[in-house]
Structures are given as structure tokens and as C-alpha cells.
């Protein structure tokens, strides 16, 4: 008893000293956040035996579902509202009481919209599988009876054709359960001005709408900067993981005269088009014993499910013809990293990285996809024998730390392709493609070099030792200049998919090893799979628009717990 009292006094004295230290030092807030300054308190309490992890949700096992029972839903392109009077739109606000605030659209006069689309975020119903109950989800588009189209809309856009997308938030204001009925829809990888980017801190509530101006403008007006496969999702600060898990996901495909969605056009790339160009949107979920999608609200490291969905369905089938297809693969997470191969180990061609066409196709038999990454592949089902082939995930991933690195054999089949009859194929054999999209020339003048260290900080997540504050600008980048950014994994064995908004980058090296021509990462990218202990050096240039953008981990659970920084593009000196 005596011993304990002495202990108490010591503890209390130290608490008092700690407090005095903080006050005496008169440190700024940002200094205080830096842990090291507070760690000088002498001997701390001896390691004690707080015991093992046995989180309840980690043990949840989804009900059994019958594989290959339902067809793969194919996202259909959203049609514009052609009766809308485009002259009613302007750079500024529309002056309507239900419009959310935003800055005026930049470059409006140069990129006046030629089409107007409307999407409505709303609670609708969806069936992930016929063995599970139809249940409410949140999404962007539905039928008139309010049943959802999952992973829709798909927006088909074209360079040279600016559009406005009016995004109305009609999520249930009195919602109960995970998710928050605020929204800020981010168009991932788009070269959009900050006010149309869907910044995490620019959210608006139910009952309001916002007009997003998508210029569909080439960065620097360089055709080699054309983007291809983009996606959009809710990005509400602190709640991105929950809202995306509820279903707020869609895709956006950008065409130009070369990547023209017409495989017969001899002036184009002649990639499989129309019904043979199919987005495959992967999600990771777990369902409770009632068959309802379950979100662990008490996870800080990541959400790892046991059912993977493809375009919203668990283990669907896809009746394909024996010819080439362009499959656009997107991993929406929230936290699972994927590695794909076909069950018959057939080769395919990777033609893009993060949705941007590569200099030329690369033949391979497996592909890695971290959260938010996209790849387009060309698969020739004419080369497959038998009646079916499966797309497999072979990467073991157990918790939010990241994949274990173990390749599973055979892995989990995610999608079954039923091989149908041979069909006419107007697309070109990728082996015969010498050149797809060239890479833009990089500046030789580098205005600034920065380092971003991504770290775990007592269960939360930091960038350069700092926790996200929407009002603190962590980097000011001068418009029209290039910089070198070093992304470093702060350690602890964690993997992070790191994403920066707006500008793509070029990976120059990983751990000092240069990325060379012919490598799949010799490409324009917007997500980095940052392995444990890794340092990745990238080149990035800031063009066309000014404003605020985030840089964050796309394990959205990490992101929601502060693994985000803010960079601003400024028409002034960098700092």
C-alpha cells in the first residue's frame, strides 16, 4: 500500500511537471504536435501487460453466398440533361438558396460547359447477392423506383467537351448508422480546379447541391497528358471510409480522338470499345449474420472484409464472347490491396497505369492494385480454352497493416467469365501496338524538393509528424513550376497507398532504383503503393489552376484519422 502511494505521488508529480513543461516552453501548436519535444520526461512507466487484440469485428464472418449465381452488372453511361438551358450556368453561384457555397469556377470563359449532367446522392436499395437481403445503400444514381445502380454513374466524357455535373445531396438527413449525410464528391485523377475537385473540407449537407465544372482540359494542353479511367467517390473529411463503404462510388471515362471508344476507327488506338470496354469496380466488404453490410466503426487501422464485390455483386459471372476485351480495373478499398491473375494463368496486356495509357502495352500474367489504383488490361478470351475462366485475387491481406506479401494458391475467385461464341473483333492485337500514349517531357528546372513522411502516431496517422488541419497549408507550390517530392514510409511495417489530388506525377525511383522504360511504373500516376520502409521519388509539375488540394493515404481509414496534408498551388513563390 505504501509502495503504491509513493508511486502515485511520483506519477502525479510527473503529470504536473509535464504540464509545466508545456506551459513554460510556450511552444507553438505545431511544435507541440511534434512528439519528440514531449518525450523528454525521464523514465516512464515500465512496460506492462496490456494484453492481446481480440477486436469483435475482426472475427465477423459473412454468411455463405453461392458463387456465380448472378450476372455482372455493367455500368451504363449517364445521359446529359439536354433540356437544361446551359446559359443559366455561370462561373459564380447560381443565386439559389439550395446551392452549396464554392469559389467561382476558374477558366470558365475558356471552358464553358457543353453538356449538363445531374446526379443525386440518395439512399437506394441494392442486392449484393441473391442470398443476402436487399438493403439500403447510398449512391449517385438509380431507377425511378429508387433501386440503385451500383458503381454508377459511369460518365463518358471527351476532351474538348467541358461539362457541368450538378451533384445534389439528398442523403437522409436523419440517417442512423455508419456514414454521414454530408458530401464532397472527388473526381479522382481529374485535372480540375480546386473548387470542382471535391476537396475533403468542402462538404455540404443534405438538401444542397453543387455544380462541378469539369473542363476536360489537357494539362498544359499537351495531348500526352490525356487521362483515361477516373473514378469519383465521396471524400467528406473524417467520414470518407464510411461513406464510400455505403456505396458512393462511380466511374468517369475520358476519351479523345485516339482513345476514341471506336475500335474500328483507323485513326485511333483501336482498343476494344463499346460493349467490350468494361469497368470492373472492386470493393471489399463483410456482412453481419443478417446479411447486412457491416462497417466496423471502431477500427483505426483499416477495414478488411471477407467478400469482394465486382460492380457491386459478390462473385458474379460475365458471359463473354471469344474476342478481346478492355477491362478497366479499379480497387475502391477501403483497405484491401489486390493482386490479380487469371485461373488459367493466361497472359494479358496492361495498357494503362492509374487509368493513363502507357507508352506501349506490356504483356504480363499478374497485376497488383492497391486502393484507388486503376489499370486497364486487354484480355483475349479467344486464347482461353474450356468453358470458363476466373479472375482471381491471390494476395493475402489480413489486417490494416497491409498485405502480408504471401501469394495464395489458388486464391479467391472474384469473377467468372463464361466463354461464349467467337465474335468479330475490330480491335488490334496489342502485340502489334508499337506506341500508345507518349510520356510528356519533364522540366529540367526543379523549383523545390520536398519530403513527405507517412507515419503511424499512436493509433492515428501523420504526415511529416503533423496531423491534418484544413487551415494549415503544408506546402505552397508555384504555378507553372516542377518539384521533386520524396514519399517516405515512416515505418512500423505498414503499407500505404499514397494519393495526391489534381496533378499526376512520374515515379523516378523506388529506394534509389530508377524506374526504367518498359516498366509498368514508367507512366503517369496518381497513387503510389508505398511498401514498408520504402522511399519513392517523384516528379510533379503544377499547371493551369491555383487553389488547395490534399495529399493523403488512400487506405481511407488512415485518411480519416488524419493521414492527410494540404498543398496549395499559388501564383507566387513556393514555400
Amino acid at each position: 500500500m505504501l509502495l503504491r502511494n509513493v508511486g502515485n505521488e511520483k506519477q502525479q508529480e510527473r503529470a504536473r511537471l509535464n504540464r509545466m513543461e508545456i506551459i513554460d516552453a510556450k511552444l507553438s501548436r505545431r511544435d507541440l504536435i511534434r512528439y519528440g519535444l514531449l518525450a523528454a520526461g525521464g523514465m516512464l512507466v515500465a512496460k506492462s501487460g496490456l494484453s492481446i487484440r481480440a477486436s469483435g469485428a475482426a472475427t465477423l464472418v459473412s454468411p455463405r453466398t453461392t458463387p456465380w449465381a448472378e450476372p455482372l452488372p455493367i455500368p451504363q453511361p449517364l445521359q446529359p440533361n439536354t433540356s437544361f438551358d446551359l446559359s443559366k450556368l455561370s462561373a459564380g453561384l447560381n443565386g439559389d438558396s439550395s446551392e452549396a457555397p464554392r469559389a467561382s469556377h476558374q477558366l470558365w470563359d475558356y471552358y464553358k460547359p457543353r453538356k449538363f449532367y445531374e446526379i443525386e446522392e440518395k439512399q437506394r436499395t441494392w442486392s449484393f447477392h441473391k442470398d443476402l437481403p436487399t438493403q439500403p445503400i447510398w449512391n449517385f444514381q438509380g431507377d425511378s423506383d429508387d433501386s440503385a445502380h451500383y458503381a454508377e454513374p459511369t460518365l463518358h466524357a471527351r476532351y474538348g467537351e467541358p461539362i457541368v455535373v450538378r451533384n445534389k445531396n439528398n442523403l437522409p438527413a436523419n440517417h442512423k448508422g455508419y456514414g454521414i449525410p454530408d458530401t464532397s464528391t472527388h473526381l479522382h485523377n481529374a485535372h480540375n480546379a480546386s473548387e470542382s475537385d471535391g476537396n475533403p473540407s468542402d462538404y455540404y449537407g443534405s438538401g444542397y447541391y453543387k455544380d462541378f465544372h469539369y473542363c476536360n482540359k489537357l494539362a498544359n494542353d499537351d495531348p500526352n497528358e490525356a487521362l483515361g479511367f477516373l473514378w469519383f467517390h465521396d471524400h467528406r473529411l473524417d467520414y470518407t471510409a464510411q461513406n464510400v463503404y455505403r456505396g458512393l462510388v462511380g466511374t468517369y471515362i475520358l476519351y479523345d480522338e485516339l482513345d476514341c471508344n471506336d475500335e474500328t476507327n483507323v485513326n485511333g488506338f483501336r482498343l476494344p470499345s463499346g460493349e467490350y470496354d468494361v469497368p470492373l469496380v472492386f470493393g471489399d466488404k463483410v456482412f453481419n449474420s443478417n446479411g447486412i453490410a457491416y462497417y466496423d466503426l471502431f477500427a483505426l487501422d483499416g477495414i478488411i472484409g471477407d467478400k469482394q464485390t465486382v460492380n457491386g455483386k459478390i462473385q458474379p459471372f460475365f458471359d463473354v464472347k471469344k474476342r478481346r476485351y478492355r477491362l478497366r480495373l479499379l480497387n475502391t478499398g477501403p483497405s484491401r490491396f489486390l493482386s490479380f491473375k487469371f485461373s488459367n494463368n493466361m497472359p494479358f496486356w496492361q495498357i494503362s497505369n492509374d487509368g493513363n495509357l502507357l507508352p506501349k502495352p506490356i504483356k504480363r500474367t499478374s497485376i497488383n492494385l492497391t486502393v484507388a489504383e486503376r489499370v486497364d488490361i486487354i484480355v483475349d478470351f479467344n486464347s482461353a480454352t474450356g468453358s470458363d475462366v476466373f479472375l482471381m485475387n491471390v494476395l493475402e491481406h489480413i489486417d490494416g497493416t497491409g498485405p502480408t506479401g504471401k501469394i495464395l494458391n489458388p486464391g479467391t475467385p472474384l469473377l467468372k467469365f463464361n466463354l461464349g461464341p467467337t465474335a468479330a473483333d475490330g480491335s488490334i492485337n496489342p502485340d502489334q501496338i508499337d506506341k500508345l500514349r507518349g510520356l510528356p517531357v519533364m522540366d529540367t528546372v526543379i523549383n523545390k524538393t520536398r519530403t513527405w513522411i507517412f507515419n503511424r502516431q499512436n493509433g492515428a496517422w501523420s504526415v511529416n509528424g503533423q496531423l491534418f488541419n484544413r487551415n494549415i497549408v503544408n506546402a505552397k507550390c508555384k504555378l507553372g513550376t516542377a518539384e521533386i517530392w520524396n514519399f517516405e514510409n515512416g515505418g512500423g511495417g505498414w503499407s500505404h497507398p499514397i494519393h495526391m489530388h489534381y496533378e499526376e506525377f512520374r515515379i523516378l525511383s523506388r529506394n534509389g532504383v530508377a524506374v526504367k522504360p518498359g516498366d509498368v511504373e514508367y507512366a503517369r500516376k496518381d497513387v503510389i503503393w508505398l511498401h514498408p520502409g520504402e522511399k519513392v521519388k517523384v516528379y510533379v509539375k503544377f499547371r493551369d489552376f491555383t487553389g488547395k488540394y490534399p495529399l493523403h493515404c488512400h487506405n481511407v481509414v488512415h485518411e480519416d484519422h488524419a493521414m492527410m496534408a494540404r498543398y496549395d498551388i499559388v501564383d507566387g513563390p513556393a514555400s
Binding site: N8, K10, Q11, Q12, R14, A15, R16, N18, I22, I33, L38, A39, G41, L44, V45, K47, S48, G49, L50, S51, I52, R53, S55, G56, P101, A173, N174, K176, G177, Y178, G179, I180, D182, S184, Y203, Y204, G205, Y208, D238, Y239, D296, L297, F298, L300, D301, G400, T401, Q457, N458, G459, A460, L467, N469, R470, N471, I472, G492, G493, D560, H561
Partner: protein, 210 residues
């Protein structure tokens, strides 16, 4: 770390935990005893353990502290030199920024990770040291109940070595609104205005416009 090594560490951590309970737990907790978790909420997330406050009042975690309430909670221990001083300082600032809501329609709880040492008297001293205002409860329970609570609330590190180390405990503040089932978390050493903005998302109708 290999699986074998992990298993080994998990085993030793469990042994240590039991030892600590044997040493210090009994006297402090004799009034309430150590209760096996009873499911509090319909989903079974919140264990209905009994906690004792700095005022020596007993509360059931779910029934008395969570059910139907808007809450903010974290874990602390008064002897913590690394994480808690700044976290508590931040939360004191947040309490001030909440202008008297704490204890009325918003409830703040800090649960000790060292229940043997953080007696009600020690917790009162800690609160005084930091200038904690009324309405914010500091709580302890038996070590094993706290351990259960900690795990259920996700204040865990997947690396068992780190998880077993008090010095590297989770510095996160959890906030939620049980009535509507909305829960979020943010680092407890974030800037107070960011913590406040995060916490205010548990009001059923957050700001209609940003």
C-alpha cells in the same frame, strides 16, 4: 514479424496481464468487483462493464454512459509522459470551446489504462492539474474490464509488442452519438479546432452548408 513470433508475444502478454491484475486490482476494485462483459447495445459493441468515476460513483458503461448519448472518450493514465499530457491539454481546450455543453448534452469520458494507480483521488488530482472543468468524467475499472473495453473500442495496435507497451498507447479520441449510431475518431493531439470540428459531426444535423 513471423506468425510464430507473434503468437509467442501474445502468449507472454496475456501472462503479464494476469500478473498485474493479481497484484494491484483487488483492493481498488473490491467495491464493484470484476464483471464479465454483458452486452450493452444491440450490436454487442459496448461492454456493459462497471466503471468508477473520480467522484467514486459507479456507472455501467453502456447503460449509464453511452445509451442514447453523445459522447467523447479516450484512454489515459496519469503517469503517462508521452501521449496524455498533450492529449489532455488539447481536450481541456476542446471542453472550453464547447461552451458548457460537456456534462449537459455532450459527455466526456477518460478511462485510465492504469486502474491500480489511478484511484479516484489520483484522478481528481490529475483533473485539477490540467484544469478539467465539471462535466467530464475520469473513470477506472478492473484491469480486465478496461482491457475488454479498450479492445472493443478499437484502441489497439495490431503489433502485439507495441500493443503491450503502455508508452505507445493509442492517442485517439473517439466520439459518437449512440442514438443515431454515428461514430468517428481523431487523434487526441490534433489541433483543438480540428478535434472540435470532428466532434461536432455527431450532432444529428451537422452544419447544412460547409
Amino acid at each position: 514479424m513471423t506468425m510464430r513470433r507473434r503468437n509467442f508475444l501474445w502468449g507472454s502478454a496475456a501472462v503479464l496481464g494476469g500478473g498485474a491484475l493479481g497484484l494491484g486490482g483487488a483492493q481498488v476494485l473490491s467495491s464493484v468487483g470484476s464483471l464479465a462483459a454483458e452486452s450493452g447495445d444491440p450490436d454487442g459493441v459496448f461492454p456493459n462493464i462497471v466503471l468508477t468515476s473520480h467522484e467514486s460513483r459507479n456507472y455501467r458503461f453502456y447503460d449509464d454512459l453511452i445509451r442514447g448519448k453523445k459522447v467523447i472518450f479516450n484512454f489515459f493514465y496519469s503517469g503517462c509522459g508521452d501521449i496524455c499530457p498533450l492529449s489532455t491539454q488539447r481536450l481541456v481546450e476542446v471542453q472550453e470551446m464547447l461552451h458548457g455543453r460537456v456534462g449537459r448534452d455532450l459527455h466526456m469520458y477518460s478511462v485510465t489504462l492504469q486502474p491500480e494507480l489511478d484511484t479516484p483521488a489520483v484522478m481528481r488530482g490529475y483533473m485539477e492539474t490540467y484544469g478539467v472543468q465539471p462535466g467530464w468524467l475520469f473513470l477506472h475499472a478492473s484491469r480486465e474490464d478496461i482491457e475488454l473495453l479498450r479492445r472493443k473500442m478499437g484502441f489497439v495496435d495490431p503489433d502485439p509488442e507495441l500493443d503491450a507497451d503502455l508508452e505507445s498507447h493509442i492517442g485517439v479520441v473517439k466520439f459518437g452519438n449512440d442514438e443515431i449510431g454515428r461514430w468517428g475518431a481523431c487523434p487526441s493531439f490534433a489541433d483543438p479546432e480540428e478535434i472540435l470540428a470532428s466532434i461536432l459531426t455527431i450532432d444529428p444535423s451537422p452544419a447544412a452548408r460547409s
